[in-house]
Amino acid sequence: MSDRKPIYLDYSATTPVDPRVAQKMIPFLTEDFGNPASRSHPFGWTAEQAVETAREEVAKLVNADPREIVWTSGATESNNLAIKGAAHFYAGGKGKHIITVSTEHKAVLDTVRELEREGYEATYLQPEPDGLVDIEKFKAAIRPDTVLASVMLVNNEIGVVQDITALGNVCRANNIIFHVDAAQATGKVVIDLEKLPVDLMSFSAHKTYGPKGIGALYVRRKPRIRIEAQMHGGGHERGMRSGTLATHQIVGMGEAFRIAREEMAAENERIRMLRDRLLNGLLHIEETYVNGDLDHRVPHNLNISFNFVEGESLIMAIKDIAVSSGSACTSASLEPSYVLRALGRSDELAHSSIRFSIGRFTTEADVDYTIDLLKNKIGKLRELSPLWEMFQDGIDLSKVEWAEH
């Protein structure tokens, strides 16, 4: 392998900071360094004004009122704040049952588990094999004491887009607070919170070419949704989230979301063409399976399982591209992806899956290189695989009885 860095195809794990975003941030790290909460001098005023301009930019991307945007340290905090904050606030009136989906991000699943430890009950819906939530099964999960439902807009591993309008309408009809994790959605799908029946929505900057360590939570004003603060202190963000506002980070998120709003239509077309090119190239390899629905999906994501290839060997073989096998947050473990398992994929297919995620700086040459690399390496790995040989010989592996060791 050469010394050059691999081709980055892991935009769903994180995106580079757009150079325009970095440029916008730097003045707020140097000359305009005030604490936005300082009311007595211009250092504070300049910072506060920058924070409010950025809030407007974030609101505009999702067609919300700036007063509905609460700054957080990232989508993990937004998810924690939304779920615990709303559950704690509304449990007394409604009850302690929560509905979510087994393919949510860990920040949602772990938060719901924490609430279970506090005495809440949770239903973890299984999605259909295409990764989408069945609306009838969702309705069936509702109980009189269901207080909150949390469903992500775009899945981080397989990129499928849930029907948030339909799910939200069911929640409205049943007086259930509806939270949506949109960390993977901004700049990829149109979000119109004036129309969407959503009460709380989580955002992250670093998945949309902004800096790491900053995010936001949308909290609907009409009808007003209340949340209990999870971080107490100086009473920043109208008491919903205390802590000195990181002006440069907020400015970066605002600029990143402004760029997303202005460029997403054209960018997504370009990315769709690249993804289709990648898909067509990889589907020429035998025994490959796309994970997740292809129609209800962001163009940025392609998740494919390569049968008869061992997952770890595959990752080692394709080091010239930077991709994920499962979500980055869990890739320290060797467990097969829980998302793919929830779709009903076998351990083997889940293990041999690769998430390719395409972004702003991906080129056609990157895609072509990737296709060639995969064709070549998978061919070589399969040459070494006795299972592949048996499959080639027409043996039905599911009927083979393996000797006990």
Binding site: T30, F33, S40, D110, R113, G234, G243, A246, A322
Partner: protein, 382 residues
């Protein structure tokens, strides 16, 4: 902007060397520090190197550092996380804590904790007799007292408190946000179980901080999710922020002795001038941070004076920035027994290493002029 910045306890300008350390992580291609490919590994290495630097700065091992989004989160994490794994009893917080400690403590009432206040004396220093009495009177799980007060700069007897707490099997947390970089700081010598530090008070970026933990402390996470920070603080690592924080820590701690001496020289110059103006300086008999002076001019409203000083080109504060929305007199001064009227006159000057003797002289002249003008207005009004 030609305004002289005298509000370093609120936030500080980024040290240029810190910016240089951060910029590579804001530019070019970088991965998620949890990813296993080379982009992720480089981020992971940067985070772990930074963790060692921060740890060294406060005299602990890298595994004792949990990065957070700042001081507020670290304080909330300490109070809520430590009590979550203890049987509910009493939590003691001092009367002069930052709201992110006192309000986090108040929230513990939901989990059946009884919240009691530790009193301070007229110099704004913890009353050890009161602490002893309260510890003897009732089973106490956790005590939280700041190392140095943000308004008066008064340094608290934390090592002494920790020794006392040990005898009563209570855990101790200290908010050291204002102390880091201003006085020498050694976690182990303090004998506490948890300590909060923050980046933006020491020339680092806003939005990053840490909780320093004794290895024996069993703490529950505040943020759940991907399991970063050994499961204690989930969320994608803010690599640029962490790297900047570490650089700021390193620089602040390296030069703490000379900076401290320089700042206390400026502060003494300021307070000599203030005395000549007949101004009362709060907590002046206490051991204080070298950079902080909190004072009031009788019969002049602090907010009015701060605005007048701003027009004259000096950025100072009337209290802590977080509560500067409110017109309530400082809770710190009230706890010290200062009359509410005088407390309303409070102005805080907090100096930084780039401030100069000439700026202090200029400030004293401006203050004298403004005080005379405002007193004149009062006389006319009367």
């Amino acid at each position: 902007m030609n305004t002289v910045y005298f509000d370093h306890n609120s936030t500080t300008a980024l040290n240029p060397a810190v910016l240089d350390a951060m910029l590579p992580w804001l530019q070019g291609q970088h991965g998620n520090a949890t990813s296993r490919h080379v982009f992720g590994r480089l981020g992971r290495e940067a985070v772990e190197t930074a963790r060692k630097q921060v740890a060294t700065s406060v005299g602990v091992q890298a595994s004792q550092i949990v990065f957070t989004s700042g001081g507020t989160e670290a304080n909330n994490f300490a109070l809520k996380g430590i009590t979550a794994n203890l049987a509910a009893s009493q939590v003691l917080v001092s009367a002069i804590e930052h709201p992110c400690v006192s309000r986090a403590a108040a929230a513990l009432a939901w989990h059946d904790w009884q919240i009691s206040t530790l009193e301070v004396n007229a110099q704004g220093v913890l009353d050890m007799a009161d602490a002893t009495a309260q510890l003897q009177a009732q089973k106490t799980g956790l005590i939280s007292v700041m190392l140095a007060n943000n308004e008066t700069g008064a340094i608290q007897p934390i090592a002494e408190l920790a020794a006392l707490a040990k005898a009563h099997k209570a855990l101790v947390h200290t908010d050291a946000v204002q102390a880091l970089g201003k006085i020498s700081l050694d976690f182990t010598a303090l004998g506490v179980h948890a300590m909060t530090i923050s980046s933006h008070k020491i020339g680092g970026p806003i939005g990053i901080g840490a909780l320093v933990l004794d290895k024996r402390v069993d703490i529950a996470p505040l943020l759940h999710g991907g399991g970063q920070e050994r499961g204690l603080r989930s969320g994608t690592e803010n690599v640029a922020g962490i790297v900047g924080f570490a650089k700021a820590c390193q620089l602040a701690v390296e030069t703490v002795a000379t900076r401290s001496e320089y700042l206390s020289g400026l502060r003494d110059q300021l307070e000599t001038g203030l005395r000549a103006l007949g101004v009362s300086v709060f907590a002046q008999q206490a051991q204080r941070l070298p950079n902080t002076s909190f004072f009031a001019v009788a019969n002049i409203d602090g907010e009015t004076l701060v605005i007048a000083l701003d027009k004259a080109g000096y950025a100072v504060a009337s209290g802590s920035a977080c509560s500067s929305d409110s017109t309530e007199p400082s809770h710190v001064l009230l706890a010290m027994g200062v009359e509410a009227d005088l407390a309303r006159g409070a102005v805080r000057v907090s100096l930084g290493e780039h401030n100069t003797a000439a700026q202090i002289a200029g400030f004293l002249a401006a203050l004298k002029q403004e005080v005379q003008r405002l007193k004149g207005l009062h006389a006319v009004a009367a």
